[in-house]
Amino acid sequence: EAEVAQSPRYKITEKSQAVAFWCDPISGHATLYWYRQILGQGPELLVQFQDESVVDDSQLPKDRFSAERLKGVDSTLKIQPAELGDSAMYLCASSFLSGYQETQYFGPGTRLLVL
C-alpha cells in the first residue's frame, strides 16, 4: 500500500541552526500539506500546496519558515533559524482531491527537538 514518506524521522538541533524536512507524497496526489503538532495538541496546518503552487500559507511563520514543492511532487519544509518553541512533530499529508470525498493520508512525521 502506498504511503507518504518523510525524513528524517527524528532531528535534534541547536537553536539558531537551520533544519530541513522532506516529504514524498503518495504518487498521483496533487495536494500536499505540512502540519505542526505540538506535544499534547492536535495538528495545525502550516502550508497547503496544490501541485507546485501554495494554496494556503496563512499560518506559516514566514520570517523563519519556508516551504517549496518545485516540481509538484516532493516537498521540503525549512526552518532558519530554529527556536526552542519549534520543538514539535512535523507531519506531511497528501490527498488526491476528489471533492467532498477527499481523504488526507499522513506520513509518520519528523520529530524535532531544538536545544
Binding site: 492536535g42 497547503q48 499529508a93 512525521g109
Partner: protein, 117 residues
C-alpha cells in the same frame, strides 16, 4: 472562529468492551465534514471515520460508529468490542465546505485511549 473541543484527555476501556469518545465543535457554517483520526504511538495518523453534515444517518465503519447531533454540534465516536490495537490518540477534526471549495482541517487536542487486557 471554528473550534473543536475534546473534553476527555484520557480514556480507558477493558478489552471487548465499548467506549465512547466525545467531541463538540463550534461553527456558523451549515455545510461541513467531521472526522475521527487515530494516531497510534510512533505511527502515522489514519482516518477512522467521516461524517458529512448534510447526512442525517450516522456513519459506521465496522466496530466504529458515530453519534452525530448537528443541532448540539456534537460528534462522538463509539468503539465496540475494543481491541488492544485500538490503543492510540484519537483526534476529532472539522472541515468546512465552502460551496465545493474546502477549508482546512481543524483538529481537537485529542483523547488518549488505553485498552486493558
Amino acid at each position: 472562529a471554528q473550534t473543536v473541543t475534546q473534553s476527555q484527555p484520557e480514556m480507558s476501556v477493558q478489552e471487548a468492551e465499548t467506549v465512547t469518545l466525545s467531541c463538540t465543535y463550534d461553527t456558523s457554517e451549515s455545510d461541513y465534514y467531521l472526522f475521527w483520526y487515530k494516531q497510534p504511538p510512533s505511527r502515522q495518523m489514519i482516518l477512522v471515520i467521516r461524517q458529512e453534515a448534510y447526512k442525517q444517518q450516522n456513519a459506521t465503519e465496522n466496530r466504529f460508529s458515530v453519534n452525530f447531533q448537528k443541532a448540539a454540534k456534537s460528534f462522538s465516536l463509539k468503539i465496540s468490542d475494543s481491541q488492544l490495537g485500538d490503543a492510540a490518540m484519537y483526534f476529532c477534526a472539522y472541515r468546512p465546505n465552502y460551496g465545493g471549495s474546502q477549508g482546512n482541517l481543524i483538529f481537537g487536542k485529542g483523547t488518549k485511549l488505553s485498552v486493558k487486557p
